[in-house]
Symmetry: C2
């Protein structure tokens, strides 16, 4: 078992005190969100589903936002999260590159999603909201928002993508234990859900469709707002605690990273890692940012850059992003958090400008490296996180072959203890 | 969400450097283990299944054993574990008593079992052993030993109690991911297993029977030893890191405990908490030690004190302990780790001498307080740990009614993320 000196911990005093907004530092300014008629969305048009504080964070050019005390206190329950050297994994791979991982699995929900769930619950509560509606794929986001609902006294309703709910019934158990209501999406409770079921009674559901249901739910009730776990600017803003801490921890260890890798579904975990490094990369730092996405839902590597809706029903504004088209139905892969047709506008902009390289990884590599990681680092990665892990392993092996070992950091965005069905069918082959 | 000042952490330098052996400090000397013919067991009679180092730890009157460096390094990956004030739970219960919990769920296996698994793997490896056989009930012990096998390079075979395996198939997935072989017990691979199946093909299995299978497996192969996750003195010795840390943490917080509570199955978690407090209680400290066991397997509250086998087939020595009889078949409760007919000789001795009070808790209380804990402290307790939690809540309510609030510490021996089926049937009623 690797010794404790592979753990780079920070004292509680080093938890970031502000969120970093990358918007003013993007290589190219972000194109505006559009209404279906092609006009730029005005802040007040978002007020039916978001509180003013989050709308400001979504659109502001301000670089820093103070983290409010109640959110800071909640984050201090589990942050700073450890940065760990994966010495056992390096040895098992037989590489000279150094591999570090930022361990976001230590949060109460078991993933990075708590970072923004706690913030969003706070700001909605401050705005007098009593209830939040949201969607979830794999269940990480729904779990995080359920816990944040307990912490800040909000009712939570979760529309969970049907195929994910069937694959991972215990995710529902967890959310129920935390007091949240969980519905299989498409449901009968919304027009979007009923329409989808009428078109195809056996639909697997998708994140885009579940978003439609949650947005419709929130827009139809004045005590209810909508809460999104990824994609949007304010979500990435809250997730920048990840990248800020990584910077401090690498500096404490005296290490310069060559590669920073995170998985990419909607972009919150990747964006939260990458954003704080953008200014120094613009200033010439040689750090490669790699977004690992599934081969079966290749938004960044195969999608086109366009204004598209974030949901199937077209209830959200048109966002400037890479997209496979809002009606794209990804196959029933287990990494439910990565089954999304679109991508964060911020990450899309970084990909478009060439600062971020997307990489599609898939199938057997995922399981091979997940099992290797479990046996050397004693953590079972979430299927989503296994994409970043696999990309890190493949990069380390590539560097080894080229004779140019380097320093690789990836984000372990969550553990896989509630996603074990994803691993079952592979077990016998290893 | 409770603020960080409810967390009492210790620096890595405060991890205990030695294990504390309570044997010389017991109020009454431990009676010897006996062979079936009634003679005291000699150390060499245990050598077929245990290394000499562990046999010495089992029988020695020495108070302190240094923790070897490789074990200390492995423990430093997750120790010291936090002691946390359950301020949210106190508020929800409406009590003035202070409730703390020692959070052993942060280990790689998710429970306290790693504390002894890592030690046992090390000592067996040092003795040239290549392979360990063991049993597991709920799967916490099997998971911990599988991880320890990865850490110290040992093959692991786990005989898992059939009913637990059916209730918690993902426990097997985890152990398989960690490279261990998992068999449903009773199996066809041992005489004990075949006999049990012949007698009752539909047997649920039991810990006592799975122990018989693992002992038989180990005794029949020279490269294999047996590893036990509870009951025995050397196991409790390794678990005393729990109680030693609690003492330091309470002292750091300036708090004197009135009640120390842990659940009791075989006794390792309870004994590990309680043993380090025995000397001061003998010296007059007013601390009540409470062992929480399930109503449906009431070894300490309803069993008789006698010499009895630790397993169904009678392969182990006769241990001086409270027992329901080696053939007692507990019902299929979900707290599989507590489905054991016997009890640790050390804990049994402490109960017999009156220093430990056993308390049986059951059914609805378990779920009610588990859900309350999840919603206030954001951790889902293992069903076993929920017994300690429920006992702590009941005690706090009792003290409130009596107008005599106090300080209660319980051990959260593990999280319940791999035991969610235990909670499913209760969900709708809360």
């Amino acid at each position: 078992m690797p010794s404790e000196d592979t753990l780079i911990t920070l004292p509680k005093t080093e938890i970031p005190r502000s969120w970093y907004n990358v918007l003013p530092d993007l290589p190219e300014p972000l194109e505006p969100y559009l209404t279906p008629s092609g006009e730029a969305v005005k802040p007040e048009q978002l007020a039916a589903i978001f509180p003013a504080s989050l709308i400001e964070q979504e659109l502001s050019p301000r670089r820093l936002f103070d983290i409010p005390v109640p959110v800071a206190e909640a984050l201090a329950r589990y942050r700073p999260t450890p940065l760990q050297r994966a010495a056992g994994l390096e040895k098992a791979l037989g590489v000279r590159s150094r591999i570090y991982f930022k361990n976001e699995s230590v949060s109460p929900s078991g993933s990075h999603k708590s970072n923004t769930a706690l913030a969003q619950a706070h700001f909605n509560r401050e705005a007098g909201i009593r209830r939040l509606a949201t969607e979830t794929g794999a269940g990480q986001w729904g779990t995080a928002l359920s816990i944040a609902g307990c912490a800040f006294g909000l009712e939570i309703r979760v529309y969970m993508v049907r195929v994910s709910l069937e694959q991972k019934p215990y995710r529902k158990t967890v959310m129920n234990l935390m007091g949240a209501e969980v519905l299989s999406s498409p449901s009968d409770l919304t027009a979007a859900g009923r329409r989808a079921k009428a078109e195809n009674p056996r639909t697997l559901g998708s994140l885009g469709l579940a978003i439609s249901e949650a947005v419709e739910d929130a827009a139809s009730r004045s005590d209810t707002n909508y809460s999104l776990g990824s994609v949007l600017n304010h979500v990435i803003l809250h997730q920048t605690v990840i990248g800020q801490e990584i910077k401090k921890q690498l500096s404490l260890a005296g290490v310069s990273p060559d590669y920073l890798i995170a998985c990419h579904g909607g972009g919150s975990n990747f964006g939260g890692m990458a954003a704080p490094f953008v200014p120094e990369i613009k200033d010439g730092a040689r750090i490669a940012l790699i977004a690992a996405e599934p081969e079966s839902c290749p938004t960044l590597t195969r999608g086109r850059f366009a204004h598209d809706h974030g949901d199937v029903a077209g209830l959200t504004p048109l966002l400037p992003m890479y997209t496979l088209g809002k009606d794209f139905q990804p196959p029933a892969i287990h990494a439910g958090g990565l089954r999304y047709h679109g991508a964060s506008p911020i990450v899309s902009s970084l990909v478009k400008s060439g600062m971020v390289k997307p990489l599609a990884v898939g199938g057997a590599d995922l399981f091979r490296y997940a099992a290797l990681f479990a046996r050397t680092e004693f953590i079972i990665p979430a299927p989503e996180s296994a994409h970043a892990l696999a990309a890190a392993c493949l990069k380390a092996l590539e560097l080894e072959q080229a004779g140019t070992p380097g320093t690789i950091v990836f984000v372990l965005s969550g553990h896989g203890l509630l996603d074990l069905s994803a691993f079952e069918s592979f077990i016998d082959t290893y």
